[in-house]
């Protein structure tokens, strides 16, 4: 049960990460790329959760919390930079 479920989850998360990386490369503006980085960190949190379920090492959920914290701070910092840069459409 658990290996099949986590395989499905890893495949879906991998496809999602591929699409987000395509958006980061093609993104017309800087805000698109910041949004893509935020989304990639969310996908990383999901992958850590699926890995914790797969291996039974539930210590990794703490790592997911830490990654959520770091991703929040990184997004805030990038948005502040985007505000302070002024109007560059």
């Amino acid at each position: 049960m658990i290996p099949i479920v986590t395989d499905i989850a890893f495949i879906l998360l991998g496809l999602a990460a591929t699409m987000v990386v395509v958006r980061i490369i093609r993104g017309p503006t800087l805000a698109d790329r910041i949004l893509g980085l935020d989304m990639l960190s969310l996908l990383g949190i999901g992958a850590i959760g699926a890995f914790a379920l797969r291996t039974g090492l539930y210590l990794y959920l703490d790592l997911a919390i830490a990654l959520a914290l770091v991703a929040f701070v990184a997004t805030i910092a990038f948005a502040r930079y985007l505000i302070s840069r002024g109007r560059h459409p």
């Binding site: 879906l12 987000v20 395509v22 703490d62 919390i65 505000i83």
Partner: protein, 114 residues
């Protein structure tokens, strides 16, 4: 409980996949932000909750709930700040999105206190 956890993990991964599809396909930063924030946060939170439910342990479930609450609290804040930054930096919403942009009032004060 293993079956419930597995179903939660698959549903969360499906939400993440649909969020990434929205990030790829939507026409605008402001519409992409809807997909990335709402569906992405719910997807990652459901995966965390499923991994916790599958292990029948109170400490692990509490830890995953802390992570889920943290995600739900910080997702709208960062998305709102990013949307405001995108509007201030001069990104015009797409016509098909049917959004009337409110002019950013305090552009000067926002650029001063950075």
């Amino acid at each position: 409980m293993t079956i419930a956890g597995g179903v939660l993990v698959v549903v969360g991964a499906l939400f993440c996949f649909l969020a990434a599809l929205g990030v790829l396909r939507f026409p605008d930063v402001f519409t992409r932000m809807h997909a990335a924030t709402k569906a992405g946060v719910i997807g990652a939170g459901l995966i965390l909750l499923g991994a916790a439910v599958a292990s029948v342990d109170t400490a692990i479930i509490l830890r995953a709930l802390v992570g889920l609450i943290f995600l739900v609290l910080t997702g709208p804040v960062s998305a709102h700040l990013l949307a405001r930054a995108a509007l201030i930096s001069g990104i015009v919403p797409a016509v098909t999105a049917n959004i009337t942009p409110v002019p950013a009032q305090n552009t000067d004060s926002a650029s001063q206190n950075s």
